[in-house]
């Protein structure tokens, strides 16, 4: 399937994250079964599937967010640029600086807008002085397309912004540590259509710098923002392919049923 939209063409073929036979267990519950996937660099990859299919669980494996759940066990191999992220020598905090995450509900820190963005670079020691920090804060707020709205009130609390602004602030915070991959777990589900469109536009811009992986319940959103789509069902990765192909001519009948609204 040739995608005619130039800007949406999957042009980067470098594999950023590679998962082989990934398994996730919550206690005895086998939540993710034998998932093999190559996430490409500078590409938006969408994970779709019905509730409970494991798409968020798998997303959280990619920056070891599941480590925080005691009963959760991950098997198989997941590598970031060839390096096993579950290796004992990998520091999850450093990993999460490289693989940033944006959550479903905007969750700014109860601090100023400035500090929300500055927090990551500060604790990771990414800057030497205030001027550099100011620069990072401004550039991240600009990249997150919120600079013009907040530049005059950087010291105001982040929680005082509107929902859509808060979510863009969280995206600015996530990219402040200079990540290589950005994971987004339903980043627009709490936003109105305008804010959603702004965040989607932003995702498309961020793609030139990072690999973006987005979990979404909105199939239209997956179709709009992603170049690659993965369909999960009952813990299996059923189909993974170019987004245009998945939405016009899916190969697996389960994908077809799901995207055309026949199974929930």
């Amino acid at each position: 399937m040739n995608d005619m939209r130039m800007e949406n063409r999957v042009d980067a073929q470098t594999v950023k994250i590679e998962a082989r036979k990934a398994q996730v267990f919550y206690g005895t519950n086998h939540a993710i079964k034998d998932v093999d996937v190559d996430i490409l660099d500078k590409t938006v990859t969408a994970f779709i599937g019905p509730s409970g299919c494991g798409k968020s669980t798998f997303l959280r494996c990619l920056n070891r967010m599941n480590d925080t759940i005691p009963s959760c066990r991950v098997e198989g191999k997941i590598t970031l640029e060839g390096e096993d992220i579950y290796d004992a020598r990998v520091d999850p905090v450093q990993l999460r600086a490289k693989v940033g995450m944006v959550f479903q509900k905007p969750n700014p820190f109860p601090k100023s807008i400035y500090d929300n963005v500055a927090y990551g670079p500060k604790i990771h020691g990414l800057t030497r002085n205030k001027a550099e920090l100011d620069e990072i804060v401004e550039s991240c707020l600009r990249k997150a397309a919120i600079w013009n709205e907040v530049k005059d009130r950087l010291q105001a609390p982040g929680t005082g912004l509107s929902g859509g602004q808060q979510q863009r602030l969280c995206i600015a915070r996530a990219i402040a540590t200079g990540p290589e991959v950005l994971l987004m777990d339903e980043p627009c589900s709490a936003l109105d259509p305008i804010a959603t469109a702004q965040v989607e536009e932003l995702i498309d811009e961020l793609r030139s710098q990072f690999s973006v992986v987005i979990v979404t319940h909105s199939m239209q959103q997956a179709a709009r923002v992603s170049q690659k789509t993965a369909f999960f069902h009952l813990g299996h990765l059923v189909e993974y392919g170019e987004t245009g192909q998945i939405f016009t001519n899916p190969k697996d009948p389960r994908t077809e049923s799901y995207i055309s609204g026949r199974i929930g």
Partner: protein
């Protein structure tokens, strides 16, 4: 193919409605072709007039199909097979509308031809050609409604018979014109009729290709067989 029901039943109703419109349109076009061919052999001007008048209804139906499809895309965002169904319905509607125009044109020429002397048995050959094309169109539409890619493939293969038919009629008319120049006006009309019927055959093939796309998700591959044996000087 997916024959399961949608969770939203209104979606199924909409999809069925546009397909029902296509089948209705197909029936009208087939009848128009058939009647026009009969009018040609029977030299029945009244029947030809009815075919001419009937084209407006086909055009109106095409417009209705296109706007229903636009509405369906806007409101339901169809994907996968549903999307391919809507796309093929839109293309088939355009093809059928064109075929209706050819039938109308045939009927118009019949009104002229009845005022002239018949050109040998050419009207009969052309009428038989029209009836085979009508069968081809019917088979293509049956393949559509049954989602039968094999049947569609057969239609695609059979179009070469129509091409052969056309080549034979072309030679026949050429002979009549060379024999007696007074036949030229009538023969030219008959030739346009034959050419238009041949075009209807191409549209039937196009519909069959849409069916293949609808069922398999891929455009029909390879050149379709053509029986174009006219030499350069003849063509």
């Amino acid at each position: 193919m997916n024959s399961d029901q949608h969770i939203r039943s209104a979606f199924d109703r909409d999809l069925e409605a546009v397909q029902a419109l296509i089948m209705k349109m197909g029936g009208m076009v087939e009848a128009a072709l058939n009647d026009a061919a009969t009018a040609l052999t029977q030299r029945d001007e009244e029947l030809a007039a009815r075919v001419r008048a009937g084209d407006a209804a086909i055009d109106a139906l095409e417009e209705q199909v296109q706007s229903e499809c636009a509405r369906l895309i806007a409101l339901r965002s169809p994907t996968a097979t549903d999307l391919r169904t809507v796309l093929s319905v839109m293309r088939i509607a355009s093809s059928l509308e064109r075929c209706g125009d050819y039938a109308k044109n045939l009927a118009k020429r019949v009104s002229v031809l009845v005022t002239m002397a018949p050109v040998g048995g050419s009207a009969g050959s052309i009428s038989r050609m029209a009836k085979s094309v009508q069968v081809l169109l019917k088979d293509a539409l049956d393949a559509f409604i049954q989602r039968d890619a094999d049947a569609a493939s057969n239609v695609r293969q059979s179009d070469q018979e129509i091409d052969q038919f056309y080549n034979a009629v072309f030679r026949e008319l050429l002979t009549h014109m060379m024999e007696d120049p007074r036949n030229i006006t009538a023969a030219m009309h008959l030739h346009f009729i034959a050419k238009n019927i041949e075009r209807v055959g191409d549209h039937a093939t196009g519909i069959a290709e849409q069916v293949i796309y609808l069922v398999t998700g891929d455009m029909a591959e390879g050149d379709r067989p053509k029986a174009n044996s006219l030499t350069a000087e003849e063509a």
